[in-house]
Amino acid sequence: MRPETERVKTVLLDVDGWQGHRAGQHVDVRLTAEDGYQAQRSYSIASAAEDARLELTVERLDDGEVSPYLTDELRAGDAIEIRGPVGGYFVWDPTVEGSVLLVGGGSGIVPLMAMARERASDGSRVPTRLLYSARTWEDVIFRDELEQLAAAPDGFEVVYTLTRSQPPGWDGYSRRVDRDLLAEVAPPTDELAQAFVCGPTPFVEAVAEALVGLGHEPQRIKTERFGPTGG
């Protein structure tokens, strides 16, 4: 178990016979109580296919059923049941040419992080910009690693917007992602090959609609809703 932020932990799993996965896919986690009661939910994979362990980065939802168990109860050495990888659409192949835009809201960063890690692991130089919207600097998941990835001279950039509060001297964005912000951050329409948008439903709706409004092809925009109930 690796703490990420106050509400977020990463579960590192040793999986016998894991066949690998594509960046953006998820797994189903199933928990079983002693009396046989079961609950299952889907969680995005955060790790790259080449990483030694399968990593699930989980935000604790206070009224959730599975996430509080994963963040608060699960201990190193425990076994859990997973199924996957699942999903063949919200996936990025870093060998495809053309600029990529990743837009994450809150814990919607998780599958995008798998893409960023996959890209680094593959040595890809595909121009990639990650726009990450979080409430505060403390809520930014994978902060140190994102800084490292952005520091490497291989065409990976990170742009933050902090919507609730900003640290002293903050010179990044401090508002919700809107059309004007995307106009500044997104590559031009003739350069953008793929956009991946993940976050809570209103966030995804707003970002996808704004990208279409800026003239990007709807077929190039892949979305995944993330949240207490959507998956």
Partner: protein
């Protein structure tokens, strides 16, 4: 293989779940979560039509006004999303697929629903007929919101909800089954929630 017992897991059980209405692996929600693969299409109603194509004796086409003039049903149904949520007693208004197919001569056994945004999903024709499926244009007494599939979506409540294609624009009647969008991306060809047919191999 017996399930792995999760030490200390009790779950957040709802004791208001009526017997026999929540399929295996599902949990009840009172929300209406949104799930779609891309941007929400915005099609003006004056450009909207619904067509029946493929193995049909002629092209059938309804404009929005013609479609809305067809007899419609009020439907109350439980819906089950493959992402594990179920929602009971949802209320819809829509045109039965039986009504749309009433005059159609076809030898097709399957249908591929097609939608704004390029989404498709395949359903056996016998699952769309006999009072089992609708083209729904209202939810909870209100016009169907775009993020939930408005102006109209397919409603096939006895299958996982990805089969209830949002922004539906027509049905292609086909002789042999062919996978639609999610069915080509790891999800089950048929999708019966009671048999937990979520993914390939289920």
């Amino acid at each position: 293989m017996p399930p792995i017992i999760s030490r200390g897991f009790r779950g957040r059980r709802r004791d208001d779940a009526p017997e026999g209405r929540v399929p295996p692996g599902q949990y009840l929600t009172d929300d209406f979560p949104v799930l779609s693969a891309g941007p929400t299409p915005q099609t003006p109603l004056e450009n909207w039509d619904f067509t029946l194509v493929g193995e049909v004796d002629e092209l059938y086409r309804w404009t929005w006004d013609e479609f809305r003039a067809l007899p419609s049903d009020s439907v109350t149904a439980d819906i089950h999303c493959v992402t594990k949520w179920s929602k009971l007693d949802t209320t819809w208004e829509g045109v039965s697929v039986d009504t749309l197919l009433a005059d159609v001569e076809t030898s097709a056994e399957y249908a591929l629903a097609f939608c704004d945004g390029g989404y498709t999903t395949n359903v056996p024709l016998e699952d769309l007929t006999g009072g089992k499926a609708w083209i729904a244009y209202a939810y909870g007494g209100e016009p169907l919101e775009p993020e939930h599939g408005g102006p109209a979506r397919l409603l096939v409540p006895h299958l996982y909800f990805w089969k209830s294609a949002k922004w539906v624009r027509g049905l292609r009647l086909i002789a042999t089954d062919e996978p639609g969008f999610w069915e080509s991306n790891g999800y089950h060809l048929y999708g019966d929630p009671w048999r937990e047919q979520r993914y390939w191999g289920d």
